[in-house]
Subunit: 340 residues, 2 copies
């Protein structure tokens, strides 16, 4: 790709490479005419500075990397928008890669990010990720890393997470307040920290209100519409339909709703539903879906600022965990007339 170099220009003009170089970095003294002559020639030959060579000297790539497990759901795209807002403003470019929920691809992404000399990394772990060796090594080498949303408990780096426990508890309590008693939780893969926290919040709410709480009420489902649909179909065909469902995210809730409606169940009459992440679809579906709103773009901004602090060396270097709060948006899928 790179054919023309400053040498070619220098040769063509019978000047030294240093002069040519200076013509492009105008902090040096250089005669206006030679300068223009050089720029002219450069244009003629189609010269473009080789960024690789430049980076070998200056140790600044002004790149940061973001690795997310997927962007089929709207959650991560929204977070990324926040990340970009912060970094573009500071002159950094954001390189995005997706691991496709595969630990293997994630590792490849990680290595590739390093090869591209990113100055810092924002990661949301894939659901398959168990091995933290590479990230641990990176962290030991004092490479700036911030985890968000899908985090690992043990890695001593800064993290930005949602208060999943609390809002799972609130969401479940809301269902309880509506008079639902047999409540199930459709969970994301249990290996994720956020799943554990939501499960714990769910359990706590049931306990607090002295409702039955068995492991059978927590069903590892997935995060796609199809997952919610499949699990709900199973529950229906096994005759084990709950009175209410707290789903780990909106697509999962929507899938469950789809199956329920297909089989003639009335929502919220027969069964109440609450989702998570307050996606656009909550207001499109009928009945509209009650959901926990998460500040996605804000989460991106906060994670980005945390990383920026590490990169620029400003602020406290100690890893911190930011716990973000949200709100429960109550819509029709969960409002049952109180039995008096």
């Amino acid at each position: 790709m790179q054919y023309v170099t400053i040498k070619d220009i220098a040769r063509a003009l019978n000047v030294s490479v240093a002069t040519v170089s200076r013509a492009f970095n105008d902090k040096y003294d250089i005669k206006k005419e030679t300068r223009e002559l050089i720029l002219e020639k450069a244009r003629e030959l189609g010269y473009k500075p080789n960024p690789i060579a430049r980076k070998l000297l200056q140790k600044h790539s002004y790149n940061v990397g973001v690795i997310v497990p997927e962007f089929i759901n709207s959650f991560f795209p929204e977070v990324i928008i926040g990340i970009q807002q912060v970094f573009l403003e500071k002159g950094y470019q954001v390189i995005i890669m997706q691991s496709n929920e595969s630990a293997e691809t994630e590792l490849e992404n990680l290595i590739s990010m390093e090869n591209n000399m990113v100055e810092g990394l924002l990661i949301s772990l894939s659901k398959d990720t168990r091995n933290m060796d590479y990230l641990e090594q990176l962290n030991r080498d004092r490479f700036p890393v911030v985890l968000f949303n899908r985090v690992n408990e043990t890695l001593p780096v800064s993290k930005v997470v949602f208060n999943d426990y609390k809002w799972a508890l609130f969401a479940t309590e809301h269902l309880i307040e509506q008079g639902y008693k047999k409540i199930f939780h459709l969970s994301a893969p249990r290996c994720l920290t956020l799943s554990k926290n939501r499960i714990n919040g769910f359990k706590k709410a049931l306990e607090k209100h002295r409702l039955p709480c068995s492991e059978a009420q927590i069903i590892e489902t997935g995060i796609l519409i199809e997952d919610g649909e499949r699990v709900m179909e199973q529950l229906i065909s096994s005759g084990n339909v709950p009175e209410a469902i707290f789903a780990t995210n909106d697509p999962c809730a929507l899938g469950a709703m789809k199956a329920l409606k297909k089989h003639g169940y009335k929502i919220p009459g027969d069964i109440g539903i609450v989702g998570f992440s307050n996606s656009k679809m909550t207001e499109i579906v009928e009945p509209s879906l009650t959901s926990v709103a998460q500040p996605t773009t804000e989460m991106g901004k906060i994670a980005a600022r945390l990383l920026l602090e590490q990169i620029t060396g400003t602020g406290n270097a100690d890893p911190k965990t930011i716990l973000m709060e949200g709100s429960l948006i109550v819509r029709n899928s969960s409002i049952r007339e109180k039995q008096s």
Copy 2:
């Protein structure tokens, strides 16, 4: 970030840098013991090869870039999955950037991609993009570029597009066959080629069936739920409600549906609706939404293969345009009992 170099290792072990280098690239002869000694020392010092320096010699980055305008809608994420499938398999990493529908950010992305030495570029243009100078220059320099979905007519590079004209025509004809007469089209920004094609297909269908076809029936709307909702609200409040709507994408159609339902219109009784892109939501909403299915992931794969051909220099170098076909998935939002 990069502190330890092969020089440090060489000094520490009293060997030459050449030997150290050889220890890492095992295609050369080197005594096993020295080799292990070096690797050991490298681990001890925390040495990592500098990929930048390496790239200066070998001109291969094994990176390709993808620039998309947004990934809030599921369309581009699905395309990207196809792109990744092709490139990961061939050992390339895919760098994703999003222009956020801004021509300025797109240009920054473009420059940044070059700085990261991608070997080729897949681009779907932002809706603001007018100036093609940079891309034209890139193309003149024989840099591999493939445009997909959001393309520019004049740029002589390979393109992968959907047959928007034909499927817009089919979608509109479907509404006509259902007996709808006053049909409106909610369009994406008109500057996009795909908008123009869909508009032309829409017009052609009306013409063919001798239905009225004025400019007022084509409303530049946008591509988000909010856009469809806003435009439909305006139509309703101005009393100018059509019998059917062909929307440029599903979110836009869903937004229109939301407004219509809110005001008590019956779908498909009072008004029929067809969307575009067959997103997951089509089956969640009530009534389910008729939509044109596009082979998104397949589009990504094809674009990726086209780019790969250019990068590796295999295949014909002439720019070609691949026209992709889809299908109309008829659901409830557009099925009216035939008037007899």
